[in-house]
């Protein structure tokens, strides 16, 4: 049992921290970047590709690096620390993860190769208006005529869907179950807009749109979608952890420098105690995020599912606590878009609502609560 990084992992962390920090440790730079479409920096994406980050999760034979969940978690944490706007989580971890899990060897080689080099950006078109964080599709349906598959229906919100070169689309299959398809970005009717954390999302309309089945045509891949969503959830938790750490650091720094009534704010015990509670939340979160990341590394899908729920619940509670308190302890300045902390809170809120918020997973966990005795994290 070991909760520390090895030397290579430390080196990776330092490298990513350097790259991400150079781009966005000046918050004004992030603000300028998210102001214009696509909401992130194509040059930075290229640099991430060059560093090997975009291919990190994928097998070497698919054009990737073949690194493990701990390494992906490190990248996500570091991106979270500067709330980097690049679509690493949704394009690489989520959409790429689905191609890696379900695609044929040819599809994997072609799509993941282009993803790893930064040549093509992917998006996962899955959520549908009226559904609530499921692993299945219902409104978007697939039809087949001979070997030709077409998709119809609306997907929304699709994170980074307007910019994506290639969409991974889930659809209800003719014979039941949910399948995955590849659709060229410009083959769909897309309208993009801002998300709450300065990112981008889109409405994607499919209307008899030609689509290539991902993997075996007609196969129900609900379980694969669920697992890749679970893994993404754990990586989103890593990203949230990084964001929390920066939000708390900004808060303590503000408390020791900002004066009110002739003294710095850290003179007020009520405020310092609340900062201490934020630290408690952050430390507990780090523990469960590290643990969940290691559970992903072990690889059992059922264990991953539970670990993802548990990480999501803790991150949701802590993210709201830290995000809300960071604003409150700063006061008015944190309400402004110019200052960083409000954007960190917004990003934590967005991550929480991406794949199922705290209340949603609590409900799932509560249903099974009588099925086990004491939790044993090391067994």
């Amino acid at each position: 049992m070991d909760f520390t990084y090895d030397d290579e992992q430390v080196a990776l962390r330092d490298a990513v921290r350097g790259l991400a920090g150079k781009a966005y440790s000046d918050f004004e730079q992030r603000r300028r970047t998210v102001a214009d479409d696509p909401g992130w920096d194509e040059d930075q994406w290229r640099r991430m590709a060059e560093m090997g980050l975009l291919g990190l999760p994928f097998a070497e034979e698919d054009g990737g690096v073949g690194a493990g969940p701990v390494e992906i978690g490190i990248v996500c944490q570091e991106l979270g620390r500067v709330i980097a706007p690049e679509p690493y989580l949704t394009s690489v971890v989520l959409a790429g993860g689905l191609v890696s899990a379900v695609g044929t060897p040819e599809q994997r080689g072609e799509v993941l190769g282009a993803l790893s080099t930064g040549e093509r950006v992917l998006a996962f078109a899955h959520d549908e208006p009226g559904t609530r964080w499921t692993s299945t599709a219902s409104e978007v349906t697939a039809a087949v005529d001979g070997d030709t598959w077409t998709l119809s229906g609306t997907k929304e919100p699709v994170l980074h869907g307007a910019r994506a070169d290639l969409l991974v689309v889930s659809a209800a299959l003719p014979d039941g179950g949910t399948g995955l398809f590849l659709v060229e970005g410009d083959a769909a009717q897309r309208s993009g807009y801002r998300t709450l954390d300065g990112g981008r999302a889109a409405r994607v309309l499919l209307d008899g749109t030609a689509a290539a089945p991902l993997g075996t045509p007609g196969q129900d891949v609900t379980a694969s979608i669920a697992t890749v969503r679970d893994i993404t959830r754990v990586m989103a938790a890593n990203q949230a952890l990084g964001a929390m750490q920066t939000a708390l650091a900004a808060t303590t720094s503000y408390l020791t420098s900002r004066k009110q009534f002739g003294v710095t704010l850290n003179t007020f015990q009520a405020l310092t105690f609340r900062a201490a509670d934020m630290y408690v939340s952050q430390e507990l979160t780090q523990s469960i995020v590290d643990w969940a990341t290691m559970v992903v590394a072990k690889g059992d899908p059922a264990e991953v599912a539970t670990a993802a729920q548990r990480a999501a619940l803790q991150v949701s509670r802590a993210g709201r606590h830290v995000g809300q308190e960071a604003i409150q302890l700063h006061g008015g300045i944190a309400m402004t878009a110019e200052y960083s902390v409000g954007s960190y809170t917004a990003h934590l809120t967005a991550l929480d609502h991406l794949l199922g918020d705290g209340g949603h997973v609590l409900r799932e966990l509560a249903e099974d609560v009588l099925d086990h005795g004491a939790l044993e994290p090391l067994d």
Binding site: D127, P129, R132, W133, T154, E156, P157, L159, S191, G192, Y193, R194, T195, L196, G199, A201, A202, R203, K259, Q260, F261, G262, F268, A270, L271, R320, Q324, I327, Q328, G331, G332, A334, M335, T336, A337, E338, G342, S343, T345, A346, T349, A350, H353, L354, L355, D357, G359, H360, L362, R363, A366
Partner: protein, 384 residues
């Protein structure tokens, strides 16, 4: 003790309710209901409709358009405004500078300012907070230096809500730098078209532009624009902030928001006992808050704000935030969509969930932060 309103108060309620729901344009009320940003024209039109019926500034002296109502009637008026989604009369005019001028102003100031203030012909802005004087208001640095009969003002104000629409601004300025900080402050009224006044927008985290910085560079202000005594500004500020705390709990607004969240999220709620429990808990807390507001109203009969009004501000802002958080969660992944977007097909309420949630983080900061309220309760009420 009895629960029923008197026949007279019931009749009063019926009367204002009917007026609000029939005389104030539905389009304006719908915008309020949906949480949309109002245009300046909508604010003005709504307040003028109210003012024409004597319903805009009931808390003013009757000779200047006020009403001889009981505290309870004022409370009913305030709740019914919110229940009907009528924009509240602009606070800067109706509850801040209006009462101040009526109480501290010269006769000339009253004649000149009060009628257009009640009718929103003058849009007032508030120039109190400064970058280094937030909760510690008295440490403000904007200066006014004597120049003949008048003053020359230099400095910067911030958090000036809706300052982009402002015609005039009432400011606290330092007129004597050599005395204890509270003792050297005066209140000046400044025409915002005067050369040297500059309004700069501040973008907030909800993407909106509701607050501003206001800069003063060698701004010349006539001597007649001093309100009250020279160096008497702190007294006026306390008077004004005391008024502000009365009726601060936005009970009606939060009630409406919660009822609406239930309606919009009914399908999700029907399926989730934990979310239903959150609603039930919030409804109960809101009920307790509303009843507390009624008790405070009853005890404020002498006109002085009851210290328990800090409870209203504190709990009111917490519930406002909690309801916005619930709405966010009801919206699911739809909450990612930020603001009413042309490109999105999601329902408007879901699209507004995130900006509203972020915007209401301010509720516990502005208008006397919740830390200030706790301080007031601890010191004034509990003697700690």
């Amino acid at each position: 003790m009895q629960l029923e309103l008197s026949a007279e108060d019931q009749e009063f309620r019926e009367k204002v309710r009917t007026f609000f729901t029939t005389e104030v344009p539905e389009e304006i009320r719908e915008a309020v209901r949906e949480g949309r940003e109002l245009t300046k024209e909508q604010f003005v039109e709504s307040m003028q409709v109210l003012n024409a019926a004597g319903l805009a500034v009931p808390n003013w002296p009757t000779e200047w358009g006020g009403q001889d109502w009981t505290e309870l009637q004022r409370h009913i008026w305030h709740e019914e405004l919110q229940a009907a989604s009528v924009p509240l009369p602009l606070a800067f005019n109706a509850t801040m500078i209006g009462p101040v001028i009526a109480h501290f102003g010269t006769d000339e100031q009253k004649r000149k300012f009060l009628p257009p203030t009640a009718n929103l012909d003058i849009w007032w802005s508030q120039g109190f907070s400064e970058p280094d004087a937030g909760s510690d208001l008295a440490s403000l640095r904007t200066t006014a230096v004597r120049d003949g009969d008048g003053w020359v003002v230099n400095g910067q104000k911030t958090w000036t809500t809706l300052g982009q629409y402002g015609d005039w601004i009432f400011t606290l300025v330092r007129t004597d730098p050599d005395v204890k900080k509270q003792a050297g402050i005066s209140m000046l009224l400044i025409d915002m078209t005067t050369p040297g006044v500059e309004v700069r927008p501040i973008e907030l985290i909800d993407g909106g532009h509701e607050v501003n910085e206001v800069w003063f560079e060698d701004v010349r202000v006539p001597g007649e624009n001093l309100v009250g005594d020279l160096n008497g500004g702190w007294t006026i500020a306390k008077f004004l902030l005391g008024n502000e705390r009365v009726g601060v709990a936005p009970v009606g607004q939060v009630k409406g928001a919660l009822a609406r969240a239930k309606e919009k999220g009914a399908a999700v709620l029907a399926d989730d006992p934990l979310l239903r429990a959150r609603v039930a808990e919030l409804e109960n807390e809101l009920l307790a808050l509303e009843l507390t507001a009624l008790r405070v109203v009853a005890r404020s009969a002498d006109g002085a704000p009851h210290p328990a009004s800090s409870v209203l501000k504190l709990k009111g802002s917490e519930l406002q935030q909690a309801v916005s958080e619930l709405t966010l969660d009801l919206a699911g992944s739809g909450a990612l969509v930020f603001g009413a977007q042309e490109g999105s097909g999601l329902e408007e309420w879901a699209q507004r969930a995130a900006p509203t949630y972020l915007n209401f983080r301010k509720a516990s900061i502005y208008g006397g932060s919740n830390e200030v309220q706790r301080q007031i309760i601890a010191k004034t009420i509990l003697g700690l």
